[in-house]
């Protein structure tokens, strides 16, 4: 599983990245978590409000910081 956290580097984006890593750890999912900061890669997904979470190429949500529990639900 490939998880990407899209965000230009603001505080919210960092929080989402941390939450995602925690969620992956908690669930024991075999996934690599990447932080995508460069604009062209973010735009490739059509996302305009950051942070956003992409799991295996599918945009799960954009423009909010999901909690660890919420992300864990998305992983299962």
């Amino acid at each position: 599983m490939k998880i990407e956290v899209l965000g230009t580097g603001c505080a919210k984006c960092k929080t989402l990245y941390e939450n995602t890593k925690k969620a992956v750890e908690e669930t024991g999912t075999a996934a690599e978590v990447l932080k995508v900061e460069d604009i062209p890669s973010i735009m490739k997904y059509g996302v305009m409000s950051t942070p956003a979470l992409v799991i295996d190429g599918q945009v799960k949500f954009s423009g909010k910081v999901a909690s660890v529990v919420e992300i864990m639900e998305m992983l299962s």
């Binding site: 984006c13 735009m43 059509g46 305009m48 599918q58």
Partner: protein
């Protein structure tokens, strides 16, 4: 009821004299703090629910079907309800211009979104009544429409950073949230926002209370009153570096008005604080060349000054 509570607390429990400066200031502080936090919690929650129906992605779809003029008006109105934090300004800007939304229409959105702030709107409503609240929204929307139209007419496309035009924007397939998820999102958003802005609100109310209790009436009016023609541009200049949350600036605005400053000057100050911030300029520098950035700031500042004079003249 809140007023009774504040009066009781300050004059009976603490035992201050209602006519003293400290008593007046503390009464103002307690009353405003309780009232504003009650208002904020309720209204931010309601607005967050409404906003969950207007994603930037949906706004982009709506605007891409509209050309100039109608587009400018729509963009200014959508700017009020579409959620967008300043750190998303770059992807949002690229997403808009790439889908064929004219530059001027994009700017109408970029001006209206921070300037017509729903938190400020409801706080103005609570503190001054609906006339001033609507004046604020109306003039904000007009400034956004006019600024966007002028920028559109100036044909400044080549002053957008070159790389912007080369980016290809993909079509996002986003999952639609259920109503339950929207409510959860709104609750989370409200808690997050309150956590972030409460110090600004307290500082704002504290400043307001200080002005209310201590600032001599004639001093402020002498320097920034109706008779000083430079008061409006000065208020705008002072407002730019003061990057504050709208929630923090409203109590200051309330106190300034009580001291007799004219409404246009005060509105201009408030708009400058929310719409012309230096951090926003730094972020926008990523997509705009200096000339367009300066033009953008210049036009919005000019529009705000005109609105200030206009309201001083008619209200």
């Amino acid at each position: 009821m809140l007023k009774t509570f504040a009066d009781y607390f300050v004059f009976q429990v603490v035992g201050l004299d209602a006519k003293s400066r400290l008593g007046g200031a503390l009464d103002f502080f307690v009353y405003d703090t309780v009232k504003i936090f009650l208002l904020l919690t309720t209204i931010v929650y309601v607005v967050a629910v409404i906003r969950s129906y207007f994603s930037p992605e949906r706004t982009r779809r709506i605007l891409s079907h509209n050309r100039e003029y109608v587009g400018n008006v729509l963009a200014a109105l959508l700017g009020i309800v579409t959620p967008f934090c300043s750190c998303s300004a770059v992807p949002l800007f690229i997403g808009f211009v790439e889908s064929g939304i004219p530059l001027g229409v994009t700017f109408s959105f970029l001006v209206s979104s921070p300037m017509v702030n729903e938190v400020a709107l409801i706080m103005l409503w609570g503190l001054f009544g609906w006339k001033i609240a609507l004046t604020y929204v109306g003039s904000g929307v007009v400034v956004a429409i006019v600024a966007g139209m002028v920028i559109g007419r100036l044909r400044m496309e080549r002053h957008v950073q070159d790389y912007v035009w080369e980016i290809k924007v993909g079509a996002a397939e986003m999952q639609e949230q259920t109503f339950r998820e929207k409510l959860d999102y709104a609750a989370g958003y409200t808690v997050g926002l309150l956590k972030k802005i409460w110090p600004y609100v307290i500082i704002g109310i504290g400043l307001g209370a200080f002005i209310h209790g201590y600032a001599p009436e004639d001093l402020l009016v002498r320097y920034a009153g109706r008779d000083n023609p430079l008061a409006v541009p000065l208020a705008v200049l002072i407002g730019v570096p003061l990057y504050s949350n709208a929630a923090g600036i409203v109590p200051v605005v309330q106190a300034l008005m009580e001291k007799g400053l004219p409404i246009g000057t005060v509105l201009a100050f408030m708009m400058a604080v929310t719409a012309l911030s230096l951090p926003e300029a730094v972020i926008l520098k990523n997509v705009l060349k200096t000339r367009l950035l300066a033009t953008f700031f210049g036009i919005v500042a000019a529009a705000i000054v005109i609105v200030g004079y206009l309201f001083n003249a008619i209200l």
